[in-house]
């Protein structure tokens, strides 16, 4: 490897470590409380700064080194009690650290081209002027270079013998206390090394030798790619284990081995998954600083309390979460927390409080962000939603206050009176929701006006190897992640007709007093209905916070599967979230509950459970009807839920058996009602005729008609007719036309005499 490559690699290694130090320093400095016990913290920061400085100069990142040195000087003085952290001092420290972070992130020059004079000047103003040996310019009394031609950056008193004893100048670890009065023996640290060789050693050594150094957990840096590889291999191991499970029971030895393999594989799996876990504190630690800055900027007093930051999440989830969480905090500070005066008026404490709490529960990770600010006004949201035409007015008025709050997640929504530079552009919350849902999670919001708001994020535990429900549909197998499955319902074929209904345009399933919207997986896959039309299994699925039912053919079991991504070209099909190789070597596709729901255009009515509560009432007011005419006679109406299908009728193909007429559709003989009309039918008239096939249990009947007038939802004003026993329910006014509403059951019972 050539020198240049070596140097570049070295800088990269150094930069990664320096970055960690700097970010930790930033966190510690933010929390620096002048009235608290900060000695240990200062020590810690000092050690890190020293390490950063040493490495910087050794890799010839002089700018960085100079700033680090400046910070170190301040810290030194704090350590020997010359200076104290204060409202004047802390910001300077922070600014310097921020600058260093910016520099280290600049992967082209690592800050060599960055202007540092401003920050250095600020550091100078903070330092007491009588002490000069801590500055970058040299020892007390001397400035610039000393007689040996080296720029002195650090002095420390050392006894003479060790210096004379050592053959070559070796870097000495800095003692906990640096004496400012310079005794005769001076040790200079050769920080301007041209050979990078000893550098890495430099940065490591001081930490090891320091007496008060806390022994942290021994860690090692590895590449994320390596972890991903291990994950993949663990996945292959799971595949082999699954194949072992299929062995016949008689082979005892093999089964025993398989069991042991099982135990070990599961452990390897979970260890690797754990390796990718990182604590939430990675994100949450940034919040106190953010809140402080915003508080100052907006002139509000805000404090933040965080708990549960040790909760761990998969690395990729964590990365995706950062922006949404920070956005929500910004929102909270900007719109949620009121200014001091307003708060005092309301009888609240002057300082607004944001509480963040993360915890495990029910197989998910929950992150709750609560504030005691002004809360959200359902009224204001309703107004805004109507004004921005996000929903129709009658829909909005039908919503409960709790449901209205969800409107904030619609793209283009914003109740901010003015778009501030902090937030309020109306592009935030919908992106937040989408990002969270893409991770398989959900967002929930609740609020009380004047009291406060709470937003909870629900996130699934680490991915890649997940337990699934395996189902069959149309001869193929599919996997549904268990995290999406609420419950399985076996539907008795005898009673299914009563429990499965049409409500408006949506098929729903009646379960424990509620109506659950359902999707037939066969229709999603564009397969014909099952031959006997029987519904046998229904899974109640959860997608985000919405629930729905999925009807499929049969359950094939549960299985822990390895998730493989769909082929790139197939990624656009939203109903699949991936694929997996099953124990028998065949591929099964993994269903995406949210994708299925969206694909089916599912109409859900309640954000909480997806159950419809208010629709029962709506049924009385509005009904879906098909209006039709038979010849020139009156207009008829039939409820949409009574209709199975409408097909075109070829009058010439109707055959008569006695007094009854029959027509064949798809090989099935349907009895045709509408005798009166058919008798009157004039073949010369060239209009089309239709057959409305009714859905009445086992019966195969249909009504012939000449003209389909309309289909839609109408408010029924029923005047019961005496002719109900002949199949007519009532005569009603539909759009001011007198219409006879057909009662399908009695029509069938009376063999269509009423028509």
């Amino acid at each position: 490897m050539d020198k240049k490559q070596f140097a570049a690699d070295l800088i990269e290694i150094y930069a990664a470590e320096a970055r960690d130090h700097l970010e930790e320093t930033e966190r510690l400095v933010t929390e620096l409380d002048p009235n608290g016990d900060y000695a240990k913290t200062i020590d810690r920061i000092f050690r890190m700064m020293h390490s950063v400085k040493g490495g910087a100069f050794a890799t010839s990142l002089n700018n960085l080194g100079k700033v680090a040195h400046g910070v170190e000087s301040i810290l030194e003085l704090i350590r020997d009690k010359t200076l104290k952290p204060s409202a004047e001092l802390n910001p300077v420290l922070l600014e310097a650290v921020d600058l260093m972070i910016a520099m280290i992130t600049d992967q082209e020059n690592y800050g060599e081209k960055t202007g540092i004079d401003d920050v250095l000047a600020k550091i100078q103003t903070v330092l007491p002027t009588s002490k000069t040996d801590s500055t970058a310019k040299g020892a007390a009394g001397t400035s610039g270079e000393d007689s040996l031609g080296y720029e002195i950056f650090y002095r420390e008193p050392v006894a003479a013998e060790p210096v004379q004893a050592s053959a070559a100048p070796t870097p000495q670890p800095p003692a906990p206390r640096a004496e400012t009065a310079a005794p005769p023996a001076v040790n200079e640290e050769r920080l301007h090394a041209t050979e990078p060789a000893p550098v890495v050693h430099n940065t490591a050594a001081p930490k090891d030798n320091l007496p008060p150094a806390a022994k942290g957990p021994s860690t090692i840096r590895i590449n994320v790619d390596m972890l991903d590889n291990l994950m993949r291999l663990a996945g292959e191991l799971v595949l082999i284990r699954n194949q072992f499970k299929l062995l016949p029971k008689e082979n005892i030895q093999a089964r025993a081995n398989a069991q042991r393999l099982d135990v070990i594989t599961t452990e390897i799996q979970s260890q690797i998954v754990e390796a990718r876990l990182q604590p939430l504190s990675n994100i949450l630690s940034k919040i106190p600083r953010l809140v402080r800055d915003l508080g100052r900027k907006l002139d509000k007093k805000i404090e933040v309390v965080i708990s549960g930051e040790q909760v761990e999440l998969d690395k990729t989830i964590l990365e995706t979460l950062t922006d949404p969480i920070l956005h929500m905090i910004r929102n909270c500070c900007d719109h949620g927390i009121e200014v001091e005066d307003e708060r005092l008026e309301k009888g609240k404490p002057a300082t607004g409080k944001i509480t963040i709490h993360a915890y495990h529960e029910g197989g998910l990770i929950h992150i709750s962000m609560r504030d005691d600010g002004r809360g959200m006004s359902p009224q204001a949201i309703r107004k805004k939603a109507i004004a921005n035409e996000l929903r129709a007015p009658h829909e909005i008025n039908a919503m409960t206050d709790a449901q209205v709050l969800d409107l904030i997640f619609i793209p283009g929504f914003s109740t901010a009176a003015s778009v501030t530079s902090v937030s309020g552009r109306g592009v935030g919350m919908d992106v937040v929701k989408t990002s969270i849902e893409k991770l398989g999670g959900a967002v929930e919001v609740s609020s009380t006006l004047h009291v406060g708001t709470e937003i909870i994020l629900h996130l699934p535990l680490p991915l890649a190897i997940i337990p699934c429900l395996i189902i069959r549909c149309g001869g193929d197998r599919y996997a549904i992640p268990q995290v999406n499955v609420i419950e399985l319902v076996f539907v008795d074929p005898k009673t299914v007709g009563q429990r499965l209904e049409n409500l408006g345009h949506q098929e729903v399933f009646h379960i424990r007093g509620h109506f659950l919207p359902v999707v037939r997986l066969r229709s999603v896959m564009q397969l014909p209905d099952a031959s006997d039309g029987a519904v046998s299994f229904l899974a109640v699925l959860r997608a985000g916070t919405r629930w729905f039912g999925l009807i499929f053919d049969e359950v094939a079991g549960t299985e822990e599967i390895v998730v493989s991504a769909m082929h790139n070209k197939m990624k656009g099909i939203s109903v699949y979230s991936g694929a997996t190789v099953m124990g028998d070597g065949r591929v099964a596709l993994i269903l995406d509950a949210l994708g299925i729901m969206e694909y089916s255009g599912l109409h859900t009515f309640d954000n909480g459970t997806g159950f419809i509560r208010t629709q029962k009432r709506a049924k009385l007011n509005e009904t879906s009807l098909l209006l039709f005419k038979m010849g020139n006679s009156e207009q008829f109406a039939i409820r949409k839920i009574d209709i199975k299908r409408v097909v075109e009728l070829d009058l010439g193909s109707i055959h008569e058996v006695g007094n009854d007429r029959f027509y064949t559709v798809d090989g099935v003989s349907i009895q045709v009602f509408g005798q009166k009309y058919l008798r009157e039918y004039d073949p010369a008239e060239s209009h089309r005729t239709y057959l409305i096939i009714l859905k009445q249990g086992e019966e195969r009947v249909g009504i012939a008609c000449s003209y389909l007038t309309d289909i839609g939802d109408f408010v029924l004003d029923l005047t019961p007719e005496r002719t109900k026993d002949r199949g007519i329910d009532a005569s009603i006014l539909v759009n001011e036309v007198l219409t006879l509403l057909i009662d399908a059951p009695s029509l069938v019972a009376t063999h269509g005499e009423g028509l």
Binding site: H567, M570, V581, R586, A588
Partner: protein, 155 residues
């Protein structure tokens, strides 16, 4: 590639039948050939996709070459084969063909590049036109050479 280049090319072709017509793709574009595979259908995908299969733990997407060449979609049969193509052509994918005939050497026969724009193209299917980029006259039959690089563009 000019016609002259093709003639000078000594590449070998893996030939297979789709219906009664013989087609081929260059041998070096092929990774392997599988038989008796189980294909899992991907409903809602385009009609050019037969499904996906497991090959040593990795899931491959298999395209329906007969459909791409304008024929009707048919379920997989025992004499059908799946040709997996090299990563350079496309990642983790292959094609289903009716029957593999064998390897043919293109050097000892006359090969001609078809200009897709030419009006005297006997095959009408637009799709077909794009995929065939050469014609090779073998001793007893015509071999149509397909451009494997275009396969994935169909979906």
């Amino acid at each position: 590639m000019s016609a002259a280049d093709i003639q000078a090319e000594t590449s070998q072709y893996c030939t297979f039948k789709i219906g009664t017509q013989l087609y081929g793709i260059r041998l070096r574009e092929i990774k392997e050939v599988c038989q008796n595979v189980h294909l899992t259908p991907i409903h809602l995908s385009s009609r050019f996709v037969t499904g996906c299969m497991n090959l040593r733990g990795k899931i491959h997407l298999i395209l329906d070459l007969p459909v791409m060449l304008g024929r009707a979609k048919e379920p997989i049969q025992s004499e059908n084969r799946v040709i997996i193509l090299r990563d350079a052509i496309g990642e983790a994918f292959g094609i289903k063909v009716d029957e593999i005939i064998g390897v043919r050497d293109g050097a000892d026969s006359s090969t001609q590049l078809i200009n897709p724009q030419s009006g005297d193209e006997p095959l009408n299917e637009h799709i077909h036109k794009d995929l065939v980029y050469g014609v090779c006259k073998l001793q007893s039959e015509i071999l149509l050479i397909l451009n494997a690089h275009l396969f994935l563009d169909f979906i």
